[in-house]
Amino acid sequence: MGVAVLLKQVPDTTAKISISGDRVDEASITKWSISPYDEYALENAIKLKESGFGDVVAITCGPSRSAKCLTEAAAVGADRLIHIISESPLDSIQVQSLLSAAVKESGCEVVMCGKQAADTNSGSTGPGLATTLGFSCVGGVTEVSIEGGNASATRLGPSGLEQVEVAVPCVFTFDKGDSELRRPNVRGIMMAKKKPVDVFSAEDLGVDVGDSMVEIKSHSSPPEKKPGQKFVGSDSIPEVVSKLREEANVI
């Protein structure tokens, strides 16, 4: 048994995003990283491995540049690396069918991923995958431990921490928790370089992704934030109070 961790490569949160011809200009993105929520999933998977629960299988679906995610995962302890190559954009269902096939191939019955990707924020991968695979799904968790065939997950409920017990097989989607992804070390980085990557195409996995059911019409930049206002001296207090009350509606 092992844990499959799904990693999506997204523009780094610090990267500048520009639009050219109604589309995000990918060529201008200088830094790509593992989506932050996926990093929480990866850290938890490595912890599970350290507690004696099988190997960590890192899986990514994306263009060749996204192989970097896998090397980074290997540097912190992933044991097997699977890259589903897809150079052209896919919709969520297509991605889920490919990922499901890769998870099946890996034989893992525990799947971990971020609750949403930092670029598209759609949040459909985990639940979609669980549906395709017929696994249970627990969303928004921050910690998972497994004993025998049962998993125990912690997640933030409406009024505090919720403890969820669930039988394996199961998909867990991760929210931001306390366990940031560990930093690699030189030994990990050097071993990662040598670790083979299993590269699959849709055909290799026996998946016909079909036509995309979603068409993106255009991308545009979010509206610019209005500049702040500055008030100086105690004379401005009444004005500030009235603005906070009437414009900002905070008092």
């Binding site: 949160t13 610090t14 970097k68 090397t71 980074e72 540097a75 930093r183 690699p184 070390n185 030189v186 030994r187 980085i189 050097m190 990662a192 370089k193």
Partner: protein, 390 residues
């Protein structure tokens, strides 16, 4: 705002994936652990022990050395490590330079098999700290005339003398000490706790405040016979260590300069005077442009000499040029950046004054700026001008 290291000529594209990953790991650590704590460390005049532990855990000490638990990275990766550490603080880079290039390297190159096995694995992990004792109170640029002596007493060596300005001295578990044995310079390993050895800290520095600097005092210091480095005699020993450390400094200086440039650029864009950002004034742009120009040249020097270090085709004079040029430009950039920050430039809210003060030490240690000029001058003319003696 996220840190974006100046890389005008896209040096990044010349790096291997492994080199990039090592660089990013160290950059991340510096951002996470050094930058939020460096001002406190400087104020308290300490090198925080957790930095030693974490640097050891990253596995970057003695970067280009192979075997005995050492990382075995490329010289370029070693340079990048220095660059990122010094972007944080020259004191942090000094810790790693001294440990890797000045203490681990001589054991690795000139030590006996037993010495290598005894010290190197622990040093690579940061569990054992080393220092390098060459400079003496009366012999800095001219270490060949050192006073510190070793005597062969049959079943042990007896060391007498004093070293000064020794980085990591007080926190070191072992010191690689250069002393004269029958008139010839030899390397000795002195361990903390050896009889007659002490390493009091030097206080009151205005520069490299987060780095420990010490005296090493030997008063009839008795060490076993197997602590001499068997495979080197003369100034070649310490100088080959210095070549490695100087190489690392040529990258480190780029890191400090990148940090100062970054701060100057951000500040100039946000500081409004006469109704406009100061970055919009030609004089300020001229300064920023000069900084970019010098950093870019420095990066190319460091990268090229790094490749030559890797394939063994270098000469020491080329390393002298890289160390001298890059520290010089970094110090000038730190000063210029301080100027662009106006009064704010003197505050510890910005890194520039700290880098500026640090770089004054870096200009002096590992061969002063002018000593490197003399090394290059000798190379050009064939005439040595260190001393008037023939």
């Amino acid at each position: 705002m996220a840190y974006e290291a100046l890389d005008f000529y896209d040096i990044d594209s010349l790096l291997t994936e492994e080199e990039r990953m090592v660089r990013d790991m160290v950059r991340d650590w510096v951002e996470d652990r050094v930058l939020p704590n460096i001002e406190d460390a400087c104020r308290d005049g300490v090198f925080p022990d957790e930095w030693r532990v974490e640097i050891g855990e990253m596995g970057i000490l003695g970067a280009p050395l192979e075997g005995y638990g050492c990382p075995g990275l490329s010289y370029i990766a070693y340079g990048l490590i220095c660059q990122e550490l010094e972007r944080g603080d020259s004191g942090v880079r000094s810790f790693a330079s001294v440990q890797g290039s000045l203490a681990m390297y001589p054991i690795w190159d000139f030590g006996s098999e037993e010495q290598k096995e005894k010290y190197l694995p622990g040093m690579a992990k940061g569990e054992l700290v080393g220092c390098f004792g060459l400079t003496e109170p009366d012999y800095g640029s001219n270490p060949g005339d050192m006073i510190t002596r070793a005597e062969d007493k049959g079943d042990h060596f007896l060391l007498n003398g004093a070293k000064m300005w020794i980085t990591n001295g007080t926190i070191a578990d072992l010191a690689v000490v250069w002393a004269k044995l029958e008139g010839e310079i030899r390397g000795f390993i002195v361990e903390k706790g050896d009889q007659g050895f002490s390493a009091p800290e030097m206080k009151g520095k205005h520069s490299l405040k987060a780095s420990v600097t010490s005296e090493l005092v030997f008063q009839d210091c008795k060490i076993p016979k197997d602590r001499i480095l068997p495979d080197v005699k003369g100034l070649r020993g310490p100088f080959s260590c210095l070549n490695n450390a100087r190489y690392g400094i040529s990258w480190g200086a780029v890191g400090a300069a990148q940090s100062c440039f970054n701060s100057a650029r951000e500040y100039a864009l946000s500081r409004i005077q006469f109704g406009h950002p100061i970055a919009s004034f030609q004089l300020v742009q001229n300064k920023l442009s000069w900084m970019l120009r010098e950093i870019t040249k420095g990066q190319l020097l460091a990268y090229h000499i790094g490749k030559k270090k890797g394939d063994g085709s270098w000469i020491p004079e080329q390393i002298s040029l890289a160390k001298m040029n890059n520290v010089d430009m970094a110090l000038e950039i730190a000063r210029m950046s301080r100027d662009i920050h106006g009064a704010n430039g003197i505050l510890d809210e910005y890194p520039v004054m700290r880098h500026m003060a640090n770089l004054e030490s870096v200009k002096t240690y590992e061969g002063t700026h002018d000593i490197h000029n003399l090394i290059i001058g000798r190379h050009i003319t064939g005439i040595q001008s260190f001393t008037r003696e023939p």
